[in-house]
Assembly symmetry: C2
């Protein structure tokens, strides 16, 4: 059902990075549900986490371990799918700590060198027997070539795995960036039920790495929405092993932009893949709001459109019911919006010009765009030069079915 | 499918008020689609309108006519269903004006004494042949006993009509308040696709009448949501004929509270009826947020819960997946929320106490509440004494079907 998304056939290994995936028995489906990404040598680690006040135990512990260990000492990411370990109180924290301890024993490091991540049902305790059994198996299976297995192992309601690689050349050395992500519902800005793990063999100065990740996340994972819900567990981690041997990249490096662009491409691919595989998605929709007085205003209007159940059901029905888009623009809270300055386009078809139906618009022309599986909605507000783009999916029967039946 | 809603069998006539409903031919279904509510003598008229910047032509004209005519000269409300006359530009304004002129000709008054209202599809011009034919028939059919026909005539996706009467005694005179409303989707605060017409024979001073209506709307029509969408057309009008002969009610009247309470009851019944008949609704859900630092904070959290597609699909599935409610609380934007002060109840069952699962909670107890068709979600934030309540419905397959097929 995913819109315009195919699974990558090969992901490039990243020097210094090994992965493993096993079936620990957390998911009832007996699908792979535990992944470890291990590092021989971490040169630098950057991360962004959910802003949900009810953040899950693993999020709290990952932040704590990262601050204790510093960005150079991280030895492994321990990820389980099938259970989010969220809303689980102090027992949930104990369980997350115990899991890190078990993996630390296997890898012969300290538990603070492990960052834990969980995704799945909220409010149930981690099945610790399964966690232990998975951790016991997993350290035996680490390999540089296990990217695709890892991409599969972190899935929950995803129908396809999301993985991408990119190479660039810096200092005449080939630099690889490889990443995986999961998420298809509860996707909204500020890190939704979304996990993304990106590694590179580049050598990158820590502050610059964090700056690159934050900027890339803002224009990718924080610019997508399936349903407006922001989860308790989301995280995006970027680890640089430094094995490529390039001169350390920082803000002043001549070739910093090459790395920034490549990282942005990787994040955007993974973020869009999440939307293409959005729960029940039949459309991949780009919403661009231009001519806004401020970027925040443009984002606010774009998100109001992207979150509107009426717009989303019209997209599902391939119905050019553009009045619903205008109604969303009108209620987006823009102060003193002059509707006579508003233009609306579906792909290249102008529907509304200066607040009224365009003279050349016909329902047939709107219908031809709506019949496509990938659609761009462009709104011009006529108030300034700022713009923003978000990506979303439609609201289908399948979305309701998936989310009504998720725990059954 | 409406939850706990039955159609009133009788609505009390209001002295000085006559109504008519006809099939003008605006709806393809050939159901009644035009209603007139006429007044022999308007003592006072109060109104609230949508805050959507793209407000429809009839909204603009109704405001204009009301300001020109003043609150005492309104002779009739002209309401059509099936077409919202929204997003229709200057031609839409011309059509609204022409429609008022035609009815004014029939009623031998000035067109500024007519307030027009439209509800239905956005972005299509009013079928003026049908409008004229309806208006020609309708003035012949005015009767004090046509409340139920009028309630039917304003319906769009409603499955049941919404109408209510209440009597109170003031100055030893029986005062009647009777009202009708329509709306079942695109329902959100700030007047959604919601029309409500309420009349009373009480004699009420104008400013006080507006104040009563605004207060009642805030706690009723502006405290409900089906899908977070606010329409271009919504309006609530309250007309007092003054025929009951009581001493004019104002802010200082000893019996003002009796009128205020009765009006609040009427508005709350109609607002809740809209939610009970929410598009595809299988649950009627009351969301109360208490112990907030401010009422606005309480409303913000309540609406975040009520708008969450994940909460709404869990309600549809009767799944006590309370983690989704906590996640909504956590992302509602409350500054420095201390989650250890948060309690969560489903009806009288405590699920979360002090941010963690309550010791006595079992899935069975949660399930018993979720199996009910009427459910109250109560969240205590532990931050103060303010509270707010909103009403909502669940998100079902039927919601998607209705909104995907609406124009087909």
């Amino acid at each position: 059902m995913a819109v315009g998304l195919t699974e990558a056939e090969k992901i490039l290994p990243v020097a210094g990075v090994k992965l493993a995936a096993v079936t620990a028995g957390i998911k009832k489906s007996r699908q792979p549900d535990m992944v470890v990404i291990a590092f021989e040598n971490t040169a630098s680690c950057a991360a962004t986490f959910t802003r949900n006040a009810f953040c899950a135990a693993p999020v709290t512990l990952a932040k704590e371990n990262l601050s204790k260990t510093g960005d150079k000492g991280i030895r492994a990411l321990l990820i389980n799918s099938g259970n989010a370990n969220a809303g689980t109180g102090s027992k949930g924290m104990d369980n997350a700590r115990q899991s890190c301890q078990w993996l630390a024993d296997e890898l012969q490091c300290s538990p603070e060198q492990i960052l834990p991540f969980s995704t799945g049902v909220i409010g149930e305790q981690l099945p610790m027997d399964a966690m232990l059994s998975g951790i016991k198996q997993i350290s035996q299976n680490l390999s540089a070539d296990n990217w695709l297995a890892a991409a599969r192992g972190i899935m929950t309601t995803d129908t396809l795995y999301k993985a991408v690689s990119k190479t660039i050349s810096i200092d005449d050395r080939v630099i690889t960036i490889s990443g995986i992500a999961k998420g298809s519902g509860m996707i909204c800005p500020n890190m939704a039920t979304m996990l993304a793990f990106i590694t590179t063999d580049a050598s990158v100065e820590h502050e610059f790495l964090q700056q690159c990740l934050s900027a890339a996340v803002e224009k990718s994972f924080n610019s997508i929405t399936v349903d407006g819900d922001t989860s308790t567990n989301d995280a995006c981690v970027l680890i640089a092993s430094g094995e490529a041997g390039n001169t350390v990249l920082d803000n002043n490096s001549a070739q910093a932009a090459v790395f920034v662009d490549a990282l942005h491409d990787v994040c955007q691919y993974l973020a869009q893949a999440i939307i293409r595989d959005g729960e029940g998605a039949t459309k991949f929709v780009t919403v661009t709001v231009a001519q806004a007085a401020a970027e925040a205003e443009a984002r606010q209007v774009a998100y109001t459109i992207a979150h509107s159940p009426l717009v989303k059901t019209a997209l599902f029905a391939s119905d050019p019911n553009w009045g619903r888009i205008l109604a969303a623009v009108g209620r987006a809270g823009v102060q003193q919006l002059d509707i006579s300055g508003v233009n609306l386009f579906l792909d290249d078809v102008c529907i509304v010009r200066n607040g009224g139906v365009d003279a050349d618009y016909t329902e047939d022309r709107g219908q031809r765009v709506m019949d496509r599986s990938e659609i761009t909605i462009t709104v011009e507000l006529g108030r300034g030069d700022e713009s923003a783009t978000v990506w979303t999916s439609d609201l289908s029967h399948e979305y309701v079915r998936i989310n009504a039946e998720y725990r059954s």
